[in-house]
Amino acid sequence: MNSNTGRAVAGIAIIVVAVVLLIVLKNGGSDTSATTKGVTTIVIKNGKPVGGIAQLTYNRGEQVRFKVDSDVSDEVHMHGYDIMKDVKAGGSVSFDFPATIEGVFEAELEGRKEQILELTVNP
């Protein structure tokens, strides 16, 4: 390697290392995401979740607990875990199951195809 090419290599190296560091530092905080505690209540008004799609995060092995209060009659489908429960207009339904599958899953009001929850299960 002559000095020119050496400089080029060093240049590439510095750029890439800088980019890697930048991304690592930027994401550093989000790595240890806090898990959800207690029972979360998702309120459905006019067939839509109040405050947008609920976000729940658990580690594998923990117990997932949430409740859906709905003003419409529909079926709540927890995808991936494939749990379906009917809810009546003005009624509520509770979910309580162990987080056994890792990944990101959605729960929908099945009839309306309306997503109400994003469930994240970390290893």
Partner: protein
């Protein structure tokens, strides 16, 4: 007012977790170390310019390539396409319960690239349009007593129709399908209509230019799957099945104009799909809000936003590649820009494959369980059919844990990077007689590869976060 962007997919009940920071850092570090090692290797003579093809046994060739096998494979291809279209038109509108969507977009679109790498161009015998085209051609010859006359295919057009078609196929699923305003994907009915339209278009083009010619340059699936088939060691020459040096056939792939566009389209469309729920989320949302403020309806604003970004991805990936080519052209002794542009396109094929595996590996493993259980037993999703007794089976999401998926994703990108570098370096030694100049030209391709691989890792690290 700001709207929630519905970018959920039709088929996936589960999305991958983002690759953790420590694995991202390891992946990127390994890529760097490997790349610097590659620079220091003194590779003086090209090794992949000759494919060293040698035939396998004549009996094996007859069994696998003979007329009976051609008829059986062609029939299977036509029947499966017919089943998919029928299921799409007559079956349930739930994308995840209908045979059509999983068969077309997972089993075929993701399955053939993977299998082609190991087995060669396996799509060719099963290609339903080629089979129909050949039968029609043979019928014409028998009736008219002469072979059908075809137009001359414009050489400059090359593989451009396939590149644009590839973008259209992905557009239909991830943009048109995912933007109906609710969290459902492409309707099976729409997929079936698209398949019918594509069949009509393909058969018309085959009638104009000839079935084999159109499969070489224009037919999206033939060109796309065939590209991955060039990486492996099995191939057919003069009607004989044979083995060759792995990767060597890829070195000859990009001699047709527009080939670089095909592989760039592949990387770009996968990037867009990977980025839409991670890296691009903010940008997509703000563009979408601008468009709705400007008076566009929700669905058209969403489609316009996504279409804009998938085209930007194509331009961006193309620009990175062309920058590398431009850099190489500045090295003394370089061939023309045009020759370089075509000459290094094949080195991106392993990167395209790595992107596919990184983004769709888990989807493929999970959705294929559905394909071979309930979608096969109940293709229309009526809930009343159970052909093979597997209609009530489900997908076992415990088959792969998050760690296994992460290692496959990062491993695919790192391996794709190494193979891409190797192919580029090999081509450089063929183009530059002086190995020092060849190595110098490769700083540019190295930068291109590092950019693609690190971008791929970055997309994984912020996906669905």
């Amino acid at each position: 007012m700001s709207f929630f962007l519905p970018v959920a997919h039709a088929l996936v009940a589960r999305k991958d977790l983002p690759v953790p920071v420590w694995l991202f850092a390891w992946g990127a570090s390994i890529v760097l170390i490997v790349s610097f090692f590659a620079l220091s290797v003194s590779w003086r003579a090209p090794r992949f310019e000759e494919d060293r093809w040698r035939p396998l046994g004549a009996g094996l060739s007859r069994a696998l390539l003979g007329l009976p096998a051609q008829i059986v494979c062609g029939l299977v291809g036509v029947l499966l396409l017919g089943l998919a279209i029928y299921a799409g038109l007559r079956g349930t509108e739930a994308p995840d319960r209908n045979f059509a969507l999983t068969f077309l977009y997972v089993t075929t679109w993701l399955g053939f690239p993977l299998f082609s790498v190991f087995l060669g161009d396996v799509f060719r015998p099963f290609n339903p349009w080629r089979s129909v085209g050949r039968v029609v051609g043979a019928g014409f010859t028998a009736l008219a007593g002469q072979r059908p006359a075809h137009l001359r295919y414009p050489e400059a057009l090359g593989r451009w129709p396939a590149a644009l078609g590839l973008i259209a196929v992905v557009w239909l699923e991830v943009i048109y399908g995912a933007s109906g305003g609710v969290a459902v994907g492409l309707a099976p009915h729409a997929a079936a209509v698209a398949a019918l339209l594509y069949s009509g278009y393909t058969l018309a083009m085959m009638a104009l230019f000839g079935a084999e010619q159109w499969c070489r340059t224009g037919e999206v699936f033939s060109v796309y799957f065939g590209m991955f088939g060039r990486l492996g060691c099995f191939g057919v020459e003069d009607g004989r099945l044979g083995v060759r040096r792995p990767f060597a056939a890829a070195a000859k792939w990009a001699t047709v104009p527009g080939s670089a566009a095909v592989v760039i389209a592949s990387i770009a469309t996968t990037s867009f799909d990977g980025a839409q729920e991670g890296a691009f989320k903010g940008a997509l949302e703000s563009t979408f809000n601008h468009l709705t403020d400007a008076g566009f309806g929700l669905t058209s604003a969403l489609r316009l936003t996504d279409t804009l970004f998938i085209l930007l991805c194509f331009a961006g990936v193309g620009l990175v590649y062309l920058t590398g080519v431009w850099g190489m052209a500045s090295v003394p002794g370089a061939p023309s820009f045009k020759k370089l542009r075509a000459g290094f396109a094949h080195s991106l094929i392993p990167i395209a494959l790595a992107y596919l595996i990184a983004h769709y590996f888990s989807l493929f493993v999970f959705q294929e369980q559905a394909q071979f259980t309930y979608l096969l037993s109940d293709p229309l999703g009526t809930g009343t059919t159970d052909l093979f007794g597997t209609a009530s089976s489900g997908i076992d999401f415990q088959l792969l844990n998050a760690n296994a998926i992460w290692y496959v994703q990062v491993g695919a990108l790192v391996i794709g990077h190494v193979i891409g570098l190797t192919l580029a370096h090999d081509r450089a030694t063929a183009y530059w007689g002086d190995y020092r100049q060849a190595a110098r030209s490769q700083y540019w391709m190295l930068a291109v590869m590092v950019a693609f691989t690190c971008f791929g890792l970055y997309l994984l690290s912020v996906a669905n976060a």
